[in-house]
Amino acid sequence: MSLELLHRRLVVGMGLVALAAFAGGAGFEPISMILAALALTLALIWQPNFAVSLRLERLWLPVAIVLLLRSLYHIFLVGDDVVIPVVDLLLLLLCAEALRSLDAPNDARLYILTFALLVASTAYRPGVLFALAFVTYVVLATLALVVGHLRRKAERHDVRERLVGRRFLAGMGGLSGVTLIMSGVVFIAFPRLSRGWASRGDVLATSIAGFADQVSIGEHGSRIYPNPEIVLRVEFPDGTPENPFTLHWRGRSYDRFDGVRWSRSAGLPPSIGPARWYEAWGSGRVRQQIYAAPLDVDVLFALHPLLEARSDNPRIQPLFDNAGDHIYWGSGSPSYQALSVADRPAPTALREARSGFSPAREHYTQLPPLPQRVSDLADSLTQGLDSNYDKVTAINDFFHTEFDYTLELPGSAREATLEYFLFERGEGHCEYFSTAMVVLLRNLGIHSREVNGFLGGQWNDFGQYLAVTQNEAHSWVEVWFPGYGWIQFDPTPGGAGTSAAVTSWLWPGRFLFDGLQHRWNKWVLDYNLESQSGLYQRISQLLRAQTSEGQVTPGQLPASRISIGWIILTLMVMTVSGVALLRRSRRYSPEVELYLQFRESCRRAGFRADQGVAPLSLLDELARARHPAHWPARSVVDYYLRARFGGQNLDVLERQKMKNDLADVRRALRRARAPTEAPQGRL
């Protein structure tokens, strides 16, 4: 492969990789991406000559003008996202340059266009595939810049010898590691001072049911089919709770039920207790670092009761409304820290909670018109019970023991009613259970409400976080106890801790990829000043020699130093091995190397040039074929035989001539194809 072709392919490869990086973000537009990918792939395998290239220019130009006008239109008149139209123009220019003839002096333009595409991709919050694309781009760019530079020098000085070989290219590719290391160092160490103001980093928001202002029975959890889309990734900085699969991730509460639909009343008065009430719950606290996927509802999910929600993202402002639901104002993927109470008030304490502040009665004891038997059922279940807690518990246990959980939806509108569920069907999904319990409790005058959120999740060992998917969408009940606030009850059978506590997905690769994606989001896309300072603290702790008492034990190395020592030793072994390999590969003298290159060139041209073929036999074969490479080949073989077997030391000029003759051989072989069989009967 000539230097020109190699260079062109490397640069086109850069373009393809940059295109992949861009396509991995939110700015993906299928048509332009596919067309560009096709054009660049074509440029890899086909390089038009000058005449065809001129004709193609006549084709690109009007399209470029159209795209330019479109970009200007978006910039000055429409005022919406201007990046996509500009990127379309950029893609067209890139494809046009890639499909020029090989002798076109468009190196700099190609570099700039591919780099511009890579820069554009950073605006769209690309996923973890960007990391792979970035590494590949750096490697290809290193090779392309070197080969391009050598190519121009070779053209200018009419150099005939081959300047780069596979080993050289591999070495240069390896040296691109220097660039990557520098990139990593700058990324980690450069202080993050800016809060950022411009990023189209909003991934398309996932639509999720059950958290809108109105939710109908049968709609919530209506995605009965498995939906493994992750909505929350939760880390526990203070250690993972004992059974994370029983955790209820509270989202939104609903106070008004019209018999079919739950809704949130407008003008709801404050319905939460003072913060000091939570001290009566217990002293346990659980911190959560939550990375939420962008949803189309502005809800902050966390464990109940939530004491504090804080976000480092300035675009996210946590708020809570009168119902005590935590929401946020802003845009983007919410990433926040939540502090919740880990304990639950003891049953004895809750039994004693009889009087005190209660939220607006009309909201949390509101009932639609219901058959009498519903009220009778409530009375029968709680007959003889004195405290509200016992009544609540009785109703809760009723559903656990007498009902079954199913994801099958009711078959008709009549079967979808609450009454049918309570008295006929005896099974249903979580929303039926929570609705039924709230209705029964309200019939007894107990303040209660429906809450939607998620239950449990899937533990990701690789990423060390709890992945909460849409599969875990759930409904439960909150009951008001004066002096304690809203207490959670989950009437769904199997809804308490029976969520699949598995640590593997059906598709293991997706699990691993999600972990990678999470780390990418956390440590790259959302890397900030706090992450930096935390990292520095960790590094300094690692390097500091400490035992558990904080003092060094004489004669004993701390584990951190031992680890570093192993790393250094491994690197040294790798380096020495690499050097030894390289040295071993240079066991031949320059003349032998040149002869081996000559033999390899003949072999590729179709001549029989195996290891066992003698040099003179190879020459005879070239002579019999009357190949134009025969004459310079004679010189090459002559020098080789003299140096190898004749005991002569070639001087500098002779070696130079041998190289020049080898270049002539290569050129002649390229121009003429070798015959598969020598002509018979000719000399």
Binding site: F134, V159, L163, S183, V185, V652
Partner: protein, 372 residues
């Protein structure tokens, strides 16, 4: 004398640099500006991925600097300067380059001589390998040109920066004056009947007269005249010397008293042309200037010695008067002032000698001439 602070600092910086220089190419300057722009954008927007790109661009710059330094290291270079280079003739300098590095090749390096327009180019020298490269230049003025340092220059690997390294490689180039001025050897002084300088009664070099004695062998002498017995005895070649017919010897007297300039160069070229003519017709010839003297001799070696002398000679207004070691009547005076011409056997006014058809302007190299 106490050195100034600036001089001290400059010397210290030069020592620290180790004779290396780094310059931006246009591409490198644009790349560096682009890096700053990306870095600024990263800080301004807080986009973490831009920090990655910024770091990568800095990495390219660092890698470029390191590789360009590696390429110029551990090179052993030997220069071969040709002898006998005449003005306006192409001169080819050959460099024998050995790459002493064990692993790393040297690629795309220029070898630049000070004041020479065309550098030599090393396309590739493999690790442990050697290569010969050359450069071709032309000089437009005679003289001795000192070659002091050889500059290695490369913009490998990316063409962003040009790194240069000076290595001391002292040598000199002697550029002979032209010898193709259309001038005729004048008739031998001493009157009629004598053979002109341009005629040769003996003809061939090594023509004999009476035996005079032995002298040290000089390059160009007839080997048949070597006295082998004495040579073996003393260990130094000696040759027989004969009284040659003085009409066969041309003594050129070049008056170098005067201002240097074009006229002086013409005078030198005339003297060179006379010597070349004498050599061609087989005469012995010698040359005397105001400051130097070369005894007559014959052959190509003598011509080289004369041309060497003429390459180095300088004109000066206060040079001593011309004082030939023999009777001035036996000399051919070349002088544009014509002083004391009557004392000499023949006189050639350089002003009257036209230029050769392809004569070039005076100057050091074409680059200097173009620079004015």
């Amino acid at each position: 004398m106490k050195r100034s602070v600036s001089t001290t600092l400059r010397d210290a910086w030069r020592r620290l640099r180790g004779g290396r220089r780094l310059r931006f190419t246009l591409g490198g300057a644009l790349f560096s500006v682009g890096s700053l722009a990306i870095g600024f954008a990263a800080v301004n927007t807080g986009n973490n991925l831009l920090y990655l790109l910024f770091g990568a661009m800095l990495g390219f710059i660092a890698l470029s600097g390191w590789l360009s330094e590696r390429v110029l290291r551990q090179l052993k270079i030997r220069r071969h300067t040709p002898r006998g280079v005449t003005v306006e003739r192409p001169i080819r300098l050959t460099y024998y380059v050995t790459n002493r590095k064990r692993l790393f090749p040297t690629l795309a390096v220029y070898l630049i001589e000070e004041r020479l327009a065309e550098p030599a180019f090393i396309s590739r020298v493999g690790a442990g390998d050697s290569v010969a490269v050359g450069s071709e230049n032309r000089f437009v003025q005679r003289g001795v040109y000192a070659l002091k340092t050889l500059t290695l220059s490369t913009s490998f690997p990316f063409g962003m920066f040009t790194r240069e390294r000076d290595i001391p490689l002292p040598d000199e180039l002697v550029i002979w004056p032209r010898t193709d001025r259309p001038v005729r050897l004048p008739a031998h002084p001493g009157g009629r009947g004598r053979q002109p300088f341009s005629d040769s009664s003996g003809g061939a070099p090594g023509a004999r007269g009476e035996y005079r004695g032995l002298r040290e062998y000089r390059v160009g002498d007839d080997p048949k005249d070597i006295h082998w017995r004495t040579t073996a005895k003393i260990g130094t070649p000696v040759t027989r010397e004969y009284d040659r017919d003085t009409t066969d010897t041309v003594r050129i007297c070049l008056d170098t008293r005067g201002e240097p300039g074009d006229e002086a160069e013409v005078a030198i070229e005339v003297a060179a042309a006379l010597a070349a003519q004498a050599y061609r017709i087989g005469r012995q010839f010698g040359i005397t200037t105001c400051t130097s003297d070369l005894a007559p001799g014959g052959g190509s070696g003598q011509l080289e010695r004369v041309l060497d002398l003429l390459a180095r000679v300088d004109f000066h207004p206060s040079a001593p008067h011309l004082a030939p070691p023999i009777d001035a009547m036996g000399c051919v005076l070349v002088s544009f002032s014509g002083a004391r011409r009557a004392s000499y056997g023949a006189y050639i006014d350089p002003a009257g000698i036209p230029a050769a058809p392809t004569h070039a302007y005076a100057g050091v190299t074409e680059a200097d001439r173009r620079a004015g």
